[in-house]
Assembly symmetry: C2
Homo-oligomer: 383 residues x 2
């Protein structure tokens, strides 16, 4: 099997799996119970929160554990009451949540990078929350968060000067970025940051929201109030401990992974270029997650190619799984100005822990040959 869809799902890593193991059937206690083994579990849970927080330069108390990125994002948006501003290429979970507010979309350029002028124009004095992902989930385009937070800082100063008390917060969805970017919330200048275990070889169904001091959120579910009164439900000890192990693991291997994926990129792209099938590589070459290699072959029906490659156990996708499965055209590819033919011929290729250099070479060859076959078939039909 050659799996090229790590942006959709990652397998659970060995260390995360091992870390979770004791908490299923042995140290299974409710961390709020009064006896010693439960208190020990409580301490280990809090320590796991600390370890997760440390990987983004924060403290355990600054993060809320959630059931995943979608919940984190929804919780982040409770910082706003009325007006929000989001990037037009955000993940569906951001866009759908934004629809509950008076919201505007910030434009991107052809590489998926934020249009900073458009952002400044739309950042009116009544905006309460801006949500911009650190890296896009289809293109891997990395946004200039430090520049963005600088613009936000200035807008806050303006508001202070004008005695405008409307708060302004910056949220970033770093679900995809955590694999390859050394994230530090202070350096990024974010007030809220979403991270997700499922995308970094941790267990599925667990995520976190970093919340800077002073940011006021409202709970979206009510009950025991286990997470700083903002999230209710018995703490998910095994999954949180697995998440911590996974987060530390990606952090420890950031540099090695970067080099590895850079090499995979190079091999993959060269192979496609040499095949004379005219690939259009998407996203921003300078600011792109190194494990992302989205590519379009205009005129080709990408879905047909995916089914063909399936027989050779090569697995890739056309876009975000949740949107693609509904037959929706990618709003991200539309936003960067691709034509319908370019969108129809697009693949979201994302490398990961399961890929070796030779895998990627084989995959590129098989993709090339499938596309050539398809081009020939189409020429035959035309003739």
């Amino acid at each position: 099997m050659i799996y090229l869809d790590h942006a959709a799902a990652t397998p659970l890593g060995a260390k995360a799996k091992k870390a979770m193991e004791p908490y299923f059937a042995d140290d299974f206690f409710n961390p709020s119970a009064p006896y010693y083994p439960a208190k020990k579990v409580r301490a280990e849970y809090e320590s796991a929160k600390d370890r997760i927080a440390h990987t983004i330069g924060a403290k355990g108390n600054d993060i809320i554990i959630t059931a995943g990125a979608t919940e984190s994002i929804n919780l982040a948006f409770t910082a706003a009451a009325k007006k929000v501003l989001v990037l037009e290429t955000e993940h569906q979970s951001v866009l759908e949540t934004a629809k509950n507010f008076d919201h505007k979309l910030i434009k991107v350029d052809k590489t998926g990078l934020i249009d900073l002028k458009d952002f400044q124009n739309k950042l009116s004095s009544d905006i309460e929350l801006v949500s911009i992902s650190l890296a896009n989930n289809e293109l891997g385009t990395i946004q200039p968060l430090a520049e963005i937070s600088e613009i936000i800082r200035k807008e806050r100063q303006n508001r202070l000067k004008n005695k405008n008390k409307t708060p302004l917060y910056l949220h970033s969805d770093a679900s995809q970025a955590l694999n390859l970017i050394d994230i530090n919330v202070a350096r990024l200048g974010v007030d809220l940051l979403t991270i997700n275990s499922a995308k970094i070889y941790g267990p599925k169904g667990i995520g976190a929201l970093y919340v800077a001091h002073g940011v006021k959120l409202k709970p979206i579910t009510f009950g025991g109030g286990q997470e700083n009164g903002l999230r209710s439900g018995t703490e998910n000890v095994p999954l949180t401990i697995g998440f911590a192990a996974a987060a530390e693991e990606v952090k420890a291997h950031l540099n090695g992974n970067r080099k590895h994926y850079e090499k995979l990129q190079k091999v993959f792209k060269e192979e496609l270029k040499n095949a004379q099938i005219e690939p259009i590589f998407l996203g921003n070459k300078k600011h792109q997650l190194l494990n992302f290699c989205p590519v379009s072959f205009p005129g080709i029906d990408a879905e047909r190619i995916i089914y063909k490659l399936e027989d050779k156990e090569i697995y890739l996708s056309t876009g975000a799984a949740c949107a693609a499965s509904k037959g929706e055209k990618s709003h991200v590819l539309k936003a960067i100005g691709l034509t319908d033919a370019e969108i129809a011929g697009s693949f979201r290729i994302s490398f990961g822990a399961l890929n070796s250099e030779s895998d990627v070479k084989t995959a590129a060859k098989e993709i090339s040959s499938a596309i050539k076959e398809e081009l020939n078939r189409m020429r035959g039909e035309d003739a």
Copy 2:
């Protein structure tokens, strides 16, 4: 170790653990992805939903998978817009959610059973949702859901007659009950039912909400809309499959477990009675989950006893873990009219898969001797 707090947390069962195993690192695919292995995972996920639903007499499409009981309950309450009615002894997740509405509390008797007259009096023509747990999480008292749903049916008829279009739904939290009651949603007459994997030896962080046809809910989180448009976030395949295995397992052993716990109850109670420490057994003798044995020793400080027993590796609690950890007095024990001294001397004892007859006997002996010691100490202080 003798663990007597199965109502707070259950260890993951061997079958559920084994069932989850392949979905962590092998069949880890996103069920919305387009290639065959992902579609296979989708099919297995849907089949797990079917299996969970079947254990309560429903179909897979009738349930929404959530991150646990708290989320299920919060989602259930979206069926109401303004007015709700809940039992005063409900779990904190129900009570806190109800606080977002114009809500009234239904009284219970001294055994924790619903006061049906009070219920009928408070069921005004503008109530939209009634929430009554199938079995209480501190007392194990089982509510007469069929009688309750019959009252609701009559109220619906009244409304129809009076051209009152306010809908009226019955929700029940069956988190604790699933272990020992053969649940069938049609027989119970509920419109909404919450079940929870964590309480039935399944993985933590996964639950479900049964939603009868025609009940209109609103999402509480927004995004991919994976669960019938009502719940967003990538499907948690391993945990859902573990939940299905656990649900089938408890269902298959209902009769055996009932007999087993009945025996444990008997042994435990006899031992305490013979010790001449004047136990007051709480809850309803006729209508009580057989694995619950809440008991009070008025005048005793239950927390001291818990710490004493800890040294002997006997673990029990004073009440619901999430409330007890905040030092709150049990609202359930208050509701059934216990005095402060009776509440302070109360234990929530709940048997489970980890207990043998001899365990329970040993535990009762140790509890008795710890209480005797404490009584002697107190007499000494008085003298």
